[in-house]
Amino acid sequence: MRIRKHPILEFKKGPRVTFTYDGQQLEGYEGEPIAAALHAAGIKTLSHSHGQGRPRGFFCAIGACSSCLMTVDGVPNVRVCVEKLRAGMRVETQQGKGVLR
C-alpha cells in the first residue's frame, strides 16, 4: 500500500521502527501518523462505535472527526491519524471511551 515512486512527490520518511498493534508486531516509519502505518499494514478498522459496535476507520485524517481514537501506551482516546509513531509504541483498539487513569 506504500507508494514507492511518485511522478510529482518525494516522500521523506524517518527510520523504520517496530511497534505493536493489539499484541501483533508491525513496522512503520518513525514520525508518520500511527494510522498511516496501520493502513500501510492493511489495518483499516481502528475502533468501534459505542452503541452498536460498528467498525470505524479514519475519516478526516486531520484530527478533526474522532473516528480514529485508539489507546496508545495506555493512554486512551488518542487521535492516531495525527499522533506520530515512535519505536516500541503499544497501540490497542479500545472498547468504548477508554479508561482515563
Binding site: 514507492r4 515512486k5 511522478p7
Partner: protein
C-alpha cells in the same frame, strides 16, 4: 455536451483548431480550453507572444497561429494540461503530437505505446520519439508521440506498460 461529459465535441474543437492550411504547414498549439475561468499562465509562458496577453484574467486564450512554432512551453505550463501541439508536416504518413504527461512510468524514446482518445479509449498505437522532462518543466513531461495522421486529432493520452512495477 462538454459540461456533462468532460469531453469536447467536434463543435467545441472547431472553435480552437487552426485552419487546415496552417495545420499542414507545421507544428501548432491546439488550446483545448473551453471555459471562462480565472487563469492565464499559457499567455505568460509563450516566448513568442503567440498566445495573446489577456485583457481580463477570465478570458479564454486566443492563439495567433502565425506566431506559434509549436515549441510546447504552453503545454507544460497550462494548469489544466489542456494544450497539445500537432505537427501534420512531421512525415508523409505520420503526425507528431506533443502532449503533457504526469504519470509513472515515463515511456522510453522508441517505445510503442497505446494511444488513447479524449474518452480514454484505445484507438491505436503511437511511437514515442522524445520525452522532455527538464527541471524547468517541474515534473510535467512533454512527450513527443508519432501517430498515424488520421489519429492526430483524436489521440490525447497514452498508456505505458508498467513492466518494472514502477508506479506501484
Amino acid at each position: 455536451m462538454l459540461k456533462s461529459t468532460g469531453i469536447p465535441t467536434p463543435a467545441d474543437l472547431a472553435q480552437v483548431y487552426p485552419d487546415k492550411q496552417r495545420l499542414e504547414r507545421g507544428p501548432v498549439a491546439i488550446i483545448e480550453c473551453f471555459q471562462s475561468i480565472p487563469c492565464n499562465p499559457c499567455a505568460t509562458a509563450c516566448p513568442r507572444g503567440a498566445i495573446l496577453p489577456f485583457a481580463d484574467i477570465n478570458d479564454r486564450p486566443q492563439l495567433d497561429a502565425e506566431k506559434c512554432n509549436g515549441c510546447g512551453l504552453c503545454v507544460v505550463n497550462c494548469p489544466g494540461l489542456a494544450i497539445f501541439v500537432v505537427d501534420m508536416a512531421y512525415s508523409e504518413k505520420e503526425a507528431l503530437l506533443k502532449m503533457p504527461y504526469e504519470f509513472l512510468p515515463l515511456p522510453q524514446p522508441g517505445a510503442v505505446v497505446t494511444a488513447l482518445n479524449r474518452a480514454g479509449q484505445a484507438v491505436g498505437t503511437g511511437t514515442v520519439i522524445r520525452v522532455q522532462s527538464p527541471p524547468a518543466f517541474e515534473r510535467t513531461a512533454l512527450i513527443h508521440l508519432a501517430v498515424a495522421k488520421d489519429l492526430a486529432h483524436e489521440v490525447r493520452n497514452i498508456k505505458v506498460e508498467d513492466e518494472t512495477d514502477e508506479a506501484r
